[in-house]
Every structure is written in structure tokens, then in C-alpha cells.
């Protein structure tokens, strides 16, 4: 029996790729010799031992296991159906296409295709590991009846101990409160609601805060442009769109954050929420999709449709020290559920069950 991990794209720094690389590392450390195969591989990752082009994937024997990560529409979703071996799905969810229709036909089509493919694969997998309960429910709605378990994304927290960009830390250590959101620029992330919240804040409390929208707009430049025009319309001088930044810069933005605010309408898990917890940033987040699951009762919840309320909650979170401490304490407790040791043990346990032919 051999284990093969397969995904469509292995890119640098995204949650799905990081999860796949962390799983490969974990399994190799635990004596399972396995490789990861992808259709598209970021050139920065090709030198990693065990990362291979999909064309190099050998024919699987009946007792081999394929761990398949599904997060988008791709022809590979159809191809794996006819590949051999026993298949274990790791489902990261697919963003509903409606979010992209205005900005990118390509993204909309990919997501639409992906959701159709997820449905057509409902009888392909012997078991599924969902990264959140929200994802499990999503699969049930799409007709999945195979055994499913919740297994959060495996996050190697050691990486966050790397040196942050000192220049950013020094530049923005000026007494102004820093509010941060980290994620790619995408319509489902609702960065416009961060801007309307900032506008409400400015009108209610003045200019004492600054918002950093940290993320890469690649492929959604039309949305990014619209966001920047909206910031101008709202006369917000205190918003920084960083664009794509280095990992050291991302660490720095988490470090300088006085609060982390997330207005996403669709998240399959929400790794940045965990990162914010790790850096001790109190979280204000809209209660959508998997966000409440991931927060697990910690952080503060809001809604997208009431910028005034969000601004009020943010102000309290920034200036009430006792409340901040309580929120951070709750987040620290929640963070323990996502520790590398805990999630890796859970993953190994589920994999062993799968190997033995027991329900995950």
C-alpha cells in the first residue's frame, strides 16, 4: 500500500497548498513514504523533495490510497474518478460563482464547474475529511453520504516565528491604531464592507485608526480597482492596500495589528483567523459560512449590513482594555484546538482508520 497526495495547484502561500505540504511533511515524518502530485506547481516549490508533476503519478493499485484536495473546478476532478486506488477527499469548499460574475468570467466559470464536479464525485470517495463543519454540511447538501469527519487545516505554527519585516513595524508604530485584514482580494472576502465600516468609524469617532487591506488582487484586478475607487469616494485617507507582499511583511502586519477584522461572506475555514489568534489580535468578524465554526465562540461577531454597529464594536474592542484581554484570552483557548500536535494527531488517527477500512 502506498499513499499519493493529489491536488490541482500547488501555489506559494495559499491555505490549501500549505495544508498539502504540511500533510506530506507529517506523513513522511511518521514513516509513510508519500509524494504530492499537482498539475500546476509554483516554481518556488518545485525543489521540495516529494513534489512532482501530475504526469509522474503512477498507476494506483487497488490498495493504494489517494488523498485528494478539492478546492476549485478543474479537469483533474473528472480524471481522478477513473484513477485506481482508494480515495480520501479533503474538502476545502468552493466559493459560490455568484461572487465573481461581475468581475471575472474565468473565476465564475471555474467555481461553477467546480461545484458541479463536487456533486458528480459524490460516489467516488470512501471517506471525506472536511476542514470545517460548514464544509461537511455543504457536501451533505451536494449528496455525499460517505463517512465524513472534521479535520481542521494543519498549520505549522513554527513558520510564524520567522522574522517579520522590521521596516513595516517601525513605520506604523506611531500611536495610530492599526486594523488589519489579511486575505486575497476577492469579492467573497467583502473588503468593501471593511471600507464602509471605516467610513462609519471616521464619522463616529474621527481619524484615530488605520486599515490595512493585505492581499494579492491577481485575477480580480477589476474588483481591486473598484475597491480603491470606493475608498476615494468615502474619502478614506487612512486605508493601505498593500497588494501582494512577502511572508515577512504579512507577519509584520499581524504584529502591528490592534484588531483583526474579517467581513468575508464565504470562507471554507479561514486560516487568517487562526493566524490573528496566534498573534494575539482581537478579532471582529462577520458571522458567515465557516467563520463562526472556526472562531468556536471566541472573538466578536458582527454582520455585513450594519457598518455603524461594526464601527461601534471595533471602537470598544480597540479601547476597552479589559474587554480586549477577555477576547484574546478566549481566542488563545480556541487556538489550542488548532495546535499542530492536536490536528496532526487527529489526521493520523483518521488516516489509520481509513487504511484499516473503518469509517473516518
Amino acid at each position: 500500500m502506498k499513499i499519493y497526495q493529489v491536488l490541482t495547484t500547488l501555489s506559494f502561500g495559499d491555505a490549501v497548498s500549505n495544508d498539502a505540504l504540511a500533510i506530506m511533511d507529517l506523513l513522511n515524518k511518521n514513516g509513510y513514504k508519500m509524494n504530492t502530485y499537482a498539475e500546476h506547481i509554483d516554481t518556488r516549490l518545485t525543489s521540495i523533495n516529494g513534489v512532482k508533476e501530475i504526469n509522474a503519478l503512477p498507476k494506483l493499485n487497488d490498495d493504494d490510497i489517494m488523498i485528494y484536495h478539492l478546492s476549485t473546478g478543474t479537469d483533474l476532478n473528472r480524471k481522478i474518478k477513473s484513477m485506481g486506488g482508494r480515495k480520501l477527499l479533503i474538502y476545502h469548499n468552493i466559493t459560490p460563482p455568484k461572487f465573481f460574475a461581475k468581475y471575472s468570467g474565468l473565476s465564475a466559470r471555474l467555481c461553477s464547474k467546480g461545484r458541479g464536479e463536487v456533486q458528480s464525485l459524490s460516489d467516488t470517495f470512501e471517506g471525506v475529511l472536511c476542514v470545517s463543519d460548514y464544509n461537511r454540511k455543504d457536501l451533505q447538501e451536494l449528496g455525499y453520504t460517505c463517512p465524513m469527519a472534521i479535520r481542521p487545516i494543519l498549520i505549522p505554527f513554527e513558520d510564524y516565528k520567522k522574522t517579520p519585516d522590521e521596516e513595516i513595524i517601525n513605520k506604523y508604530n506611531d500611536g495610530i491604531k492599526n486594523v488589519v485584514f489579511v486575505s486575497r482580494i476577492a469579492p467573497n472576502k467583502k473588503q468593501e464592507d471593511l471600507l464602509s465600516m471605516m467610513s462609519a468609524y471616521k464619522k463616529m469617532y474621527g481619524d484615530g485608526i488605520r486599515l490595512f487591506i493585505v492581499g494579492n488582487p491577481k485575477g480580480l484586478e477589476n474588483y481591486d480597482k473598484r475597491l480603491k475607487e470606493y475608498a476615494k469616494l468615502l474619502e478614506l485617507d487612512n486605508v493601505v492596500f498593500t497588494g501582494q507582499v512577502s511572508f515577512a511583511s504579512i507577519l509584520a502586519y499581524y504584529k502591528i495589528a490592534d484588531a483583526f477584522v474579517c467581513m468575508s461572506e464565504h470562507e471554507g475555514f479561514g486560516v487568517p483567523l487562526i493566524e490573528a489568534m496566534y498573534f494575539g489580535d482581537p478579532i471582529l468578524a462577520a458571522a458567515n459560512a465557516a467563520v463562526p465554526d472556526t472562531l468556536g465562540g471566541s472573538g466578536i461577531l458582527t454582520t455585513n449590513d450594519d457598518p455603524k454597529k461594526s464601527a461601534f464594536l471595533l471602537h470598544e474592542l480597540l479601547y476597552d482594555e479589559e474587554l480586549r484581554a477577555s477576547v484574546i484570552e478566549g481566542q488563545n483557548k480556541r487556538l489550542e484546538d488548532f495546535s499542530y500536535e492536536k490536528v496532526s494527531a487527529l489526521f493520523l488517527e483518521e488516516l489509520e482508520k481509513f487504511i484499516r477500512g473503518e469509517a473516518v
Binding site: S104, A200, E221, R226, G297, L301, F312
Partner: protein, 124 residues
């Protein structure tokens, strides 16, 4: 401390004292269909097809099946936005799609006529 409850109670108690403010909606900013995102992605897709399926753009399936599949897949969602597409590359692809559809209709007519002639010949 149940921070969520504390904050929520505080908000409910203060709600009526908050200033009445208006915020311009995001919808007041028009959506711009520039070439940056979508067209760049289309170009990427063509290159991807060339590279990964071993076909040259000038050496397609005679019936244009690959091009049709490609166009139906990648461009259909943008058909509603055609008026906003001014990129020559995309316009050319759409034109090609249209021509392939016309050629397919022509082939169908030729095939039907050939079948009819064969039948008439056999009956003669």
C-alpha cells in the same frame, strides 16, 4: 467575561445615542470591465492549452472541437459583458467561435444533402 454578550448589550444600550450617519453604498461605484483581469486570464488559458495538451493554436482539431470547448467554457460567462470587451484578442476569439458554429451548421447541411443524394441514387 462573556465578551460577546457584554459588547452586544453595550451596543443595544448605546444604539439610539449613535449619530445618524449615511454611507455611500459600494454599488454607487460602477463595475469596470477593463482588460486586466479577465483577458489576462484568457491568454493564460490559451497558453495553458497549448502547453499541456500539445496542440498549437494554428493546428486545431479540424472541426474546431477544442476551440469550441475552450470558448464555451471560458468565454460564455462573459457573453453578457461582450459590449464591454474591447480587447482584440477576445474579440477575435469570439469571432472565431461564431465562424466555427457557422461551419458546423454548413457541415450538417452538406452531410444531410450527401445522405439524400446517396438515397436517391440507390433508389434510381
Amino acid at each position: 467575561m462573556d465578551a460577546r454578550k457584554v459588547l452586544n448589550d453595550r451596543y443595544e444600550a448605546s444604539k439610539s445615542d449613535l449619530p445618524d450617519i449615511k454611507i455611500e453604498p459600494f454599488d454607487s461605484v460602477p463595475v469596470s470591465f477593463q482588460n486586466e483581469g479577465t483577458t489576462g486570464s484568457l491568454k493564460h488559458c490559451v497558453n495553458h492549452i497549448r502547453k499541456n495538451r500539445g496542440i498549437s493554436y494554428n493546428c486545431l482539431d479540424k472541426k474546431g472541437r477544442i476551440v469550441r470547448k475552450f470558448l464555451a467554457f471560458w468565454i460564455d460567462p462573459m457573453v453578457g459583458q461582450q459590449n464591454n470587451i474591447d480587447d482584440k484578442f477576445t474579440v477575435a476569439l469570439l469571432e472565431l467561435f461564431k465562424l466555427y458554429k457557422e461551419r458546423e451548421a454548413l457541415y450538417n447541411r452538406i452531410n444531410a444533402l450527401e445522405a439524400k443524394i446517396c438515397k436517391l441514387e440507390s433508389e434510381a
